[in-house]
């Protein structure tokens, strides 16, 4: 490989949109570190700057540079060994360049060359490993922060400000490099790397049949989202839901439609539901246990009540901000996949007798009921947390609005999909971004401070938020009406939907 090939390899190995995202991450790493350096004036600010830069570099290696392994796999499958070897050189070159340049820049201002180099190397290798490790290893890693929190009583790991930091973490960084090489080798030399099931790493999750290239905020995400069939093929049997066919049939139109829609809509057996609840609860309980283990012993003065209060507040903010939208996104993705595929469920349902005369309203019920049921459960959970935390009525109202907003998204876009009236991609992106920002601000700000006290020009933040919610509710109502009218005008609801 020539020097030019090595330099341009990441650009060529990624879709242009991903390569641009990589550049943005690089810029953010530089800006973030600079901003941290400017606004912090204490002696330890070098560590903060390195952490900020390292965070964005970790994202770069996890989501952009990791894609090089896909090219290496293709090179091996197509029997092009020169390219396969060349890609190793590219990774080595960019790895060294990343660490060396970051260390030189940060070290120039702050010194601490060795510690910065080790920290940056850990971030880069960590990001790459996150993308290359099997999923069954990566998933429990989300408990790592809590586990690390619990560790200090048993092993005292030195932090970056400790003089022992370099001695301790250099072997760790080298070990992670070896592990990365092993992961790379394992993937490239696998007979069928895309059929590893639960062992398939994250970097390969979004590489499915739906890759159409280009980027757009709605179908771009949905195209990259793993197709439900593909995901089922990869999942181990114990993780998938078991269908309950008991109440399906000509007299049970809504249940039958839910069965045909699959995924989050599918009626499941009691055992299957319990198993899925356990899948969520067990990691959560592990997290709580680890938090208790670490928190209580390190700060013996704090009581269980303090721990629960902090944990509950964090859960309220994170689940409130992202839980509802994630639920809406999951159900909408599945619905979109059903209505975009012509050889799937649509043709079967269109020609299935016995779905009843009110098939359109039954379909609306089948698509909205499971999603809204989950949204209501989530809302009840959040309200219970708000009650436990003794939040003010105003804050509770914003929590409520956040969940109603997510439910509104689910309703409006479900109707648009089944009504065949999806608007243009940029309109969807605009509404989605506006809604997400509004929900996040509505959750984060009131729980941390009083929005009435924060002013935006002549208005308080509270007034601005309420105005934002009014606008969002008007937009969502309009979209829902458009979808509903589209559905009524369709000769039958099982016609494929394409985007405007």
């Amino acid at each position: 490989m020539s020097a030019q090939d090595i330099l341009s390899a990441p650009w060529r190995a990624n879709r242009p949109s991903t390569a641009w995202q990589g550049l943005v991450l690089l810029v953010l790493a530089v800006w973030g570190a600079t901003a941290a350096g400017i606004f912090m004036d204490h002696s330890d600010c070098w560590a903060v700057c390195t952490f900020v830069a390292g965070f964005f570099l970790a994202l770069l290696w996890a989501f952009v540079m990791s894609n090089m392994v896909l090219l290496a796999i293709d090179a091996r499958q197509l029997r092009v060994p020169a390219l396969e070897r060349g890609l190793m050189s590219v990774m080595f070159f960019y790895g060294v360049a990343c660490v060396a340049l970051s260390t030189a820049l940060l070290g120039f201002f702050f010194g601490h060359f060795a510690a910065i180099a080790i920290l940056i190397a850990l971030f880069c290798v960590g990001g790459l490993l996150f993308a290359l490790l099997p999923r069954f290893v990566v998933t429990p890693l989300f408990l790592l922060p809590a586990a690390l929190n619990a560790i200090p009583f048993h092993v005292a790991l030195p932090g970056p400000l400790s003089p022992d930091f370099v001695h301790w973490w250099t072997p760790v960084a080298l070990g992670l490099c070896v592990l990365t090489l092993w992961c790379w080798h394992r993937l490239v030399h696998a007979a069928d790397p895309y059929a590893m099931g639960w062992g398939r790493p994250l970097v390969m999750l979004f590489r499915g049949g739906g890759q159409t290239g280009g980027w757009n905020p709605w179908t771009g995400y949905l195209d990259r989202a793993a197709d439900s069939v593909e995901r089922l093929r990869d999942s181990p049997d114990w993780i998938r839901g078991r269908a309950d066919l008991g109440e399906c049939g000509p007299g049970q139109s809504v249940t039958s439609l839910r069965m045909a829609l699959g995924g989050v809509f599918m009626p499941q057996t009691v055992l299957s539901v319990l198993r899925r609840i356990a899948l969520v609860l067990v990691p959560f309980l592990c997290y709580v246990a680890l938090m208790e283990l670490g928190h209580d012993r390190r700060h013996p003065v704090q009581t269980w009540q303090d721990l629960w209060h902090d944990g509950a507040l964090l859960t309220l903010v994170l689940v409130g901000a992202f839980g509802g939208m994630t639920l809406a996104m999951v159900s909408l993705t599945q619905l979109w996949q059903r209505w975009a595929k012509v050889n799937g469920e649509l043709s079967l349902l269109a020609l299935l007798p016995g779905l009843g005369r009110n098939v359109k309203s039954n379909l609306v019920s089948a698509t909205l009921r499971p999603t809204l049921r989950l949204q209501i459960l989530l809302l009840a959970f959040l309200l219970a947390l708000a009650f436990y935390l003794h939040l003010s009525i105003q804050t509770t109202m914003f929590v409520l609005l956040g969940q109603l907003g997510a439910a509104g998204f689910a309703v409006a876009f479900s109707l648009l999909i089944i009504g065949g009236r999806l608007p243009g991609r940029w309109s969807i992106a605009g509404v989605a971004v506006f809604g997400c920002i509004l929900i996040c601000i509505s959750l984060f700000v009131p729980t941390l401070s009083d929005p009435a006290a924060i002013t935006l020009g002549p208005f308080s933040l509270r007034a601005a938020l309420l105005a934002g919610w009014l606008v969002l509710s008007l937009i969502l109502s309009r979209l829902a009406r458009r979808g509903w009218l589209g559905l009524q005008q369709r000769p039958h609801p099982f016609l494929p939907t394409s985007q405007a």
Binding site: S228, V229, L232, R233, D237, R240, G241, A243, L245, C248, G249, P250, S256, M259, A260, G262, G263, M266, K341, V342, N343, G344, E345, L346, S347, L348, A350, L351, L352, P353, G354, L355, R490, P491, H492, F494, L495, P496
Partner: protein, 298 residues
């Protein structure tokens, strides 16, 4: 008396018919004014190259897409607004079926079977066993060939009067393909099932189809019985020096290096070849179905 007339009227209604069907995708025409009708009990093979519009035509005929213009009817009803009675009388297998991947083969057949009044559960179970498909295996985890066979079982077990298959043999091995063709012939011969199937494989078509329709670039170039194709169409060869006399209407037209012309021509209503066939040096050769398909499609 009126009941007898009504019964006769019902019996002559075409199970599947389209008139002046037009459809396009992203600005390019896929179907340009297609007229096609199936006679009850016939087995129509729809043939055409990739991208000719076969799947789109089939989907429009069954009301699975809304055409830009034209009409489609199934058992006399508008295809886009079928009654449950008509739906129960037809079965369709798409190309590369992917429906209900989250169910096992047995669950899928059990689920679908509940909706069909004439569902033959024993046929479904026996055929699953005969075709060596594990009933408890998830559909998502079956091979494309197995998946297609499960969908064929689903279609056949409903005992349809109209069976529509889009490239049914595409993913099947030769043994399964032969078995499917036998099943189609059996259904058509014994139960009078009307069958429409699209294919690239001309030998399959010759084996079971009673009629053939050739779709090319969104147009239906011919529709006749399989036997008729040999009688009705021929390759007219005209030497270079009299090539000016070539008929203006032909299904295909090709000039050779020596200046001579080869054309696929059709007999007129009186059964005569075009006049150029009688010129000295010109000749008409009989053509097999595959030759005819290749000549027209090239």
């Amino acid at each position: 008396m009126s009941a007898v007339r009504q019964e006769r009227d019902v019996s002559v209604i075409a199970p599947l018919a389209v008139r002046q069907l037009v459809h396009c995708y992203e600005g390019s025409n896929v179907l340009t004014g297609v007229d096609l009708s199936l006679q009850p009990g016939s087995v129509l093979g729809l043939i055409g190259r990739n991208g000719a519009g076969k799947s789109t035509l089939i989907r429009a005929m069954l009301g699975l897409l809304e055409p830009l213009s034209g009409s489609a009817s199934v058992f006399g009803e508008p295809a886009l607004k079928l009654s449950d009675t008509s739906k129960a009388r037809l079965a369709y297998v798409p190309q590369q079926p992917e429906a209900l991947a989250w169910l096992t083969a047995q669950q899928m057949l059990d689920y679908v079977g509940r909706f069909y009044p004439r569902w033959d559960a024993s046929f479904a179970n026996n055929t699953l066993q005969r075709w060596q498909i594990q009933p408890n295996k998830l559909l998502a985890k079956l091979s494309p060939g197995e998946r297609q066979r499960v969908d064929l079982i689903r279609a056949l077990a409903s005992q349809p009067e109209l069976l529509v298959l889009d490239e049914p043999a595409a993913a099947l091995d030769p043994v399964a393909r032969r078995e499917l063709l036998r099943e189609i012939a059996l259904r058509a011969g014994e139960s009078g099932t009307t069958v429409l199937f699209s294919t690239h494989i001309v030998s399959d078509l010759e084996r079971v189809a009673s009629e053939v329709a050739f779709l090319h670039q969104g147009k239906l170039l011919m529709h006749c019985t399989v036997d008729e194709t040999k009688e009705r169409y021929g390759r007219l060869w005209i030497p270079g020096q009299i090539s000016y006399a070539a008929p203006t209407r032909s299904l295909s037209w090709r000039r050779h290096d020596d200046g001579s012309l080869s054309l696929v021509v059709e007999r007129d209503t009186n059964g005569a070849w075009p006049e150029a066939a009688n010129l000295s040096g010109a000749r008409v050769d009989a053509m097999g179905l595959e030759d005819l398909f290749v000549e027209i499609a090239e």
